[in-house]
Amino acid sequence: MADLQIDFAGIKSKNPFWLASGPPTNTGYQVQRAFDAGWGGAVWKTLGDPVINVTSRFSGLNYGGQRVAGFNNIELITDRPLEVNLREIRETKRNYPDHAIIASLMVEPKQEKWHEIVRRVEDAGVDGLELNFGCPHGMAERGMGSASGQVPELVEKQTYWAKEAAETPVIVKLTPNITDITATAFAAAQGGADAISMINTINSLMGVDLDSWNTIPNVAGKGTHGGYCGPAVKPIALSMVAECARESDIPIPISGIGGIENWRDAAEFMLMGASTVQVCTAAMHHGFRIVEDMIDGLNNYVDDKGLASVMDLVGQSVPKYLKWGDLDLNHKVVAHINQDYCIHCNKCHIACEDAAHQCIEFFTDADGRRALSVREEDCVGCNLCSIVCPAEGAITMIDKPSEVSMTWNERQRMISMFGG
């Protein structure tokens, strides 16, 4: 039985699975049920300046057979009174002292506003604070959320103000709606953040109804941009975590968020440098009990890897995530078609012919049947055929390692010595 406990910037949690700030953490009733189901921590639905939410807030992207491949919302922060939330936080902490409760906060970018809210929520007994610099709609029009999260100076300054008043660890939650997330992550670290979390939702418009021409979702026929999340955003979130994890100027722990649905996703984020993971959409889609499989799966995985603690996973893949210019240009992979598994759908041939390097050819096999094979010398190893192939095992990408490696950066340095 592996040790799943984590220590995240001083916040202890019985496992790395936290609910992200959102509808599942709106009330004490929900958070307590989540803790009963097994979640190690919860980031409370963002508290802050008063708002009123609209109805018709969410929409789901169904892709092929998969429901909720992506999810979009135009919900703001909590619209319940601060006193009610604080009472429920206090009660939840009393009933569940061993679970991590993080208060997510968003106020106007003013020093006194940050000082006031930090003091009030810490008084309720939270284990840490998460500054929400990420919400992309509504609050941003009022200078909060991603509007301040996109400006490194404002991230640094507000983090500093929160830290001035805070006694518990401060996590800064970053917006992905920025060209280079390391710029704001660095600003958070400069402001004194104890940790960062990412990602909040990505600017999105889910669709347009072709009959009514209304946006999806719409409020009385009018729409606005929302925040995108769920499985579709996982690769974007993972790359942002990795970008920050490999940066030595950002030497603080990372909580990974975005499209996490199961223990595998969680393990990937941890390998890429996250020491906790947060989940919102999957809990909304499947309910709190998904955490049971997450805990079991991660436990078995850590055991199978022969590790004592889940913390031993953190960051193991970061040294393997490089800049493109440091990849080996001499390494080659080529596609190979396994005739025993091929169902002769020809998709690989069409893909390679129309969109790759025209090297999957027909031949007649010993029994006189038409079959396909790869002309290896022209295959650039792009993987496209294996991606489109519907028959498991029919196309294998085979490594052809070279004896010496040569990266683009090494090559350019060498060529520059010869006048190039």
Partner: protein
């Protein structure tokens, strides 16, 4: 499309020059590919130089590997 054929053709040109005791002295890369100037090695009595135009990515990769090998050999022989 047999890009491999153009690679083999360009590689053959480089290899033939290498076999005739040429080595790379200059490489210019631009939008049209790589122009690789090769000269006969020092002990030859003329300073004949030849410029090969490489277009294929594989040939340009190959040429740089030749450069690395050449540098390694030079550093070992001190030449």
């Amino acid at each position: 499309m047999h890009e491999h054929r153009s690679f083999l053709e360009e590689k053959r040109k480089i290899d033939e020059l290498l076999q005739s005791n040429f080595h790379i002295v200059k490489v210019i890369e631009n939008l049209s590919g790589a122009y690789v100037t090769m000269q006969r090695s020092d002990d030859a009595d003329d300073d004949l130089s030849v410029t090969v135009h490489l277009l294929s990515a594989d040939a340009r990769r190959y040429m740089t590997n030749v450069l690395f090998a050449q540098r390694l050999k030079q550093s070992m022989t001190g030449s």
